[in-house]
Amino acid sequence: MKKAVVLILLLLALALIAKSLLPARNPGAFDVVGFSRLPVLVNGRVKPLDTVARSSLLVICGTTSNDSSKSSLILTPDKRELNPNEWLLDVLFRPAQADTYQVIAIDNPDLLTLLNLRREEGLADRRFSFAQVEKSLAEIDRQARLTEPVEPQVRSAFQKAVVQLQSNIILYERLKESLISSDSQNFLAALFAFQNTLGASVEAVRAKQAGQPFDADAAQKLIENGQRFDQMARVGYLLAVPPVKGEADTNGWRNAGTALLETFQTGQVNPHVMAYAGLGHSWAGGNATDFNTILRLYRDELVKSFPLALAKCTAEARFNAMKPFNTAMTLYVLAFFVAVFSWLKWPAELGRVAFWLILAAWLIATAGIVTRMWLEGRPPVTNLYSSALFVGFIAVGFCLGLEYFYCNAIGSVAAGGIGFATLLIAYYLSLGGDTLEMMRAVLDSNFWLATHVVTVVAGYGATFLAGFLALIYIVRGVFTKSLDQPTADALARMVYGIVCFATLFSLIGTVLGGIWADQSWGRFWGWDPKENGALIIVIWNAVILHARWGGLVKQRGLMCLAVFGNIVTAWSWFGVNLLGVGLHSYGFVESTFLWLILFVLSQAAFIALANLPLERWRSFRQP
């Protein structure tokens, strides 16, 4: 029985990991997967089309918390389900069809009224097609212009919704003009015609300018093409044409329109644009053989000059499909329950299983973090999203150490809880779009990112871990009889040890931050909110240590202080970011702010619970 359970659990974990490692499969005859791995430059970074598809959909669909599975669903009007890359292919190459897909999220009721739409007309009551909003574009633009002078922090819910909708529509329209001209029936044929008649057309225009007889039709064609390409050059979103000078020239990427305008100098239509037009033609015409052949030839050509870009894009698309953090999250949950259960039954065996599960989850998450670092060429923490990943990495890393020394499943429970929580936070933070962002000039320093930011975030992780261990103490003590004196002492030692590490990391991190500030702004300390947040964590950890050394608190007091550390850290991590928003916006509560309040209240409740008189605790009762 024991062995069977252990075996089943391990097999389950293996199956989970294996599932995420399965290579992505094409939904039909078209090599959509191969297409999704082509490199483009968007938002300052070379990324695969797969990332563009996923992050654009995240933004346009405005995924909300309650229907995450449903909201990523894209249906064609004939109820066929599309994956993000098929959707992108349709937007790029069959824009008229793509206009009928209900992807654009509109939640605000006033905005719906303005657009003459009813909730029931949308997919999942909130998503509408471009065709449905197209008639109101002028009105949306007018409302957005009215909103523009209002400062972002004080905009009403309606105004925020208008601005969001406008920017989503702009993104969508820019995508459509990226590789082909969206109003052209057969762009490939148009390009061939343009190429073949270029000489004659140029002659005609020259003759016209010289006042000689000329071919009016050819001159007109040339002007039309010029206007069309100019439009594509101005709005095209994807910089899909790689630099002429090769991989090192990161500023040489341009969009198809710009590359087409170059034709007037070179006399040759850019081969990359031609390849994409060919792909588009075969995709729109349903010709999978042509599509796959062009794709293969194009990739073979690309790999000669851009091997690194292709390799990175392939890796990134694989990474997107594997979703290592989701797998790790599931494993953490599993490990958490196994570890909790091990306190009731089979402590040795289940404890060990939990440890291995945690280790597996941690390794997977770590591999994910390392992959992100390689893709970005940056230290692990560059934005709020990656800080959540790293807090989990640090906290679970410490838990593995604790579990190695103590073997009492407490480390595993804490690891499961924190690992899951941080990955969940990261998941919600990832809904804003692409999480691999470029660094603003002032932050563009790998040295300081690697030292200051990493240590500060490690301090967050350690402080949270101490708080979580204290929660375990309180919950086990108040609600179960399982907290005997040796376990309680062990927990107290763990909390104390982790608080020591937290002090070390947050102090060093904060002081390093001061030095960075001295280097770039000329003052060591400016009392700005983010600095103060870090300082408060340092002070609080110092309070815990001094209170314990001075005998001002005993075990339970230590636990209460550690739980309060959770509040302090959460405030520094998220609260200070809300200062400009949450506390300052009128009548509109940011959801992050709400969650923060709930978290603070929950921690306060635990502190209150810990202060119940010992007779009310189930543990420590005298027989």
Partner: protein
Amino acid sequence: MNDTVRQFRDFFVSLKLTVVLLVLSMGLVFAATLDQVNLGVWAVQAKYFHSFFVLWKIPGTDVPLPVYPGGYLLGGFLLVNLVSAHIYRFKRSWRKSGILLVHTGLMLLLVGEFLTGILQEEYQMALNEGQTKNYSESYRFNELVILDTTDPKFDDVVAVPEALLTTGSALQHPKLPFRVVTKEYYPNATLSLRRGATGENPSLATAGIGPQITATPQPLTYKQDERNWPVVFVELLGPEGTLGTWLLSPQLPAPQTFDYGGHSWRLALRAERAYKPFSLTLLKFTHDVYLGTDIPKNYSSRLRLTTPDGKDDREVLVYMNNPLRYAGLTFYQASFDPSNDHNTILQVVRNPGWLLPYLSCVMMTLGLVVQFGIHLLGFINKRRAVPATPA
């Protein structure tokens, strides 16, 4: 030692005091952070950190009540607590060497922050490409300047800080043949041209451009990206009576001129200047964004540094995270005017205590590593000695 002294000493030595002070400082930092939303970072620093008490005005009156200990008080007590603890309580031993290091580092940090608070000067230098300046300007304080420009070779300058220009104040300076009387002072005001409509109050100003301008007082602003524009009406009084009343504001583009007693004078209210024994010329400002975004990638200013004695004449490059340190001053790439890509704004800081944080950082880090290292080694050795028993 009698009992009172001992009690007094015990109070300052106690760990309880440490904990109380730490908790109080945490409260102070927290409140100050929240208050930045209303007051902005400068006013918050003055109110909470560079003060002995946080004052709160009883609503409707101007009576300030001390409601919370301020930064200087808490910092000072912490320092005393720390020093006396080390004198009376700590036994010097190798096991405590880490703590000693950490605490010494902390003392240095507190002293350094105090020094910074009283000694640091922050100015800005805005330069267009090709422009040369030998002074930097304050972005928070202004000064009234009266220049005697009679001699074409040099200007004789009398500068009065804005803080002295309260309504009704009068100034006399040996270099000036007249008294300067402040008739009205607005800490923040907007200017507009008078349209000559009837019903407008007549201007206080009687000379210069003032009579054509209306100044409307505005509430003080604390926003990070806005500044206060003061307006002052000054009357100059010679022995034989008034010379006139001028309206002065840093928003006026040029100084106003007049002649008196055979001398030519100029009069202006302008950003406070700090002159340097060297000058900087902006050769080239560059500013890149990431391809396909508005996210700034880097800014940098190529400058030429020259001294009048000709000993220094070289090009320097200031960019993000790479300031120029020269003559006790540090020049940082702070900003630029987004409307024009050929101008730079450098932050110019004098902070004689800048090295202390670096020193204390090293000491505290080393101290914590030593101290926790000792703990950790002890813990591991103990577990090695006694084979792990099931908990």
